[in-house]
């Protein structure tokens, strides 16, 4: 199975995790992250904060290359076996899964670190853009300075937000 998949379809986390470590008896740790679509109204209680849906656009070709490069970079830094990244594009609804990152390793420390590194990298270096449908109309999501700061912890200048 490819390390990187960009797709409109949903994914089955259990099936992906089982497939990632299938037959690999070296594996003693599997760490994964799933990002989902939030409805901010459920947090603030304010009607104006409702997220009705989200549209994800990307840069075909560059996206796959950028994520492949970040997995290669993760292999330089951490001692893990396999990694898989799935990112959905197109129209998504609140509670839908957006992104999946999973890493296998001998012990938990390396897969925890590699998983977090991959997500921090992806947030600021992979060419995806979110557009939210709100009661005020469609709005492109702003990049967050905190995401650049997250990558800076790994010694990398994100230069994004």
């Amino acid at each position: 199975m490819a390390r990187v998949r960009i797709q409109t379809e949903d994914f089955d986390v259990g099936a992906e995790l089982a497939d990632l470590r299938a037959g690999d008896l070296r594996v003693g740790a599997v760490c994964s992250f799933v990002g989902t679509v939030r409805d901010t109204r459920a947090i603030t209680g304010a009607a104006a904060d409702e997220i009705r849906s989200m549209e994800l656009e990307h840069y075909p070709g560059m996206t796959e290359k950028a994520i492949e490069a970040m997995i290669d970079e993760a292999h330089q830094r951490f001692d893990f076996y396999e990694a898989r990244v799935i990112h959905r594009i197109g129209l998504l609804q609140p509670a839908d899964q957006i992104v999946f990152v999973a890493v296998t390793s001998a012990h938990r420390g390396e897969s925890f670190k590699a998983c977090e590194f991959l997500m921090d990298y992806l947030k600021t270096q992979a060419p995806f853009w979110k557009k939210e449908q709100t009661p005020q109309g469609a709005q492109w999501v702003d990049a967050r300075v905190s995401d650049d700061a997250a990558l800076a912890r790994w010694g990398i200048d994100a230069n994004n937000a």
Binding site: Y59, H87, W129, W140
Partner: protein, 83 residues
Amino acid sequence: MNIQLRYFASIREDLGLASEAFVTQACDAAGLLSELRARGGAYAQVLAEGRPVRVAINQVMARADTPLSEGAEVGLFPPVTGG
């Protein structure tokens, strides 16, 4: 030199254009942005100095001084917001 420009997200929407062929005299990413701004109209507004515009050259994130090359594919887009 001849390059291919590709626009994404809010920049694509604001220009009303997804891609175009372009002949540039610029040698790097910053020079290309100045040249595009000088075309005026929507380009001057969308790519105005101080607005966050990211540049990828041949599908790799570029810095201001990343060189252009003949036939390059240059992507212009706002800061990324995936994940």
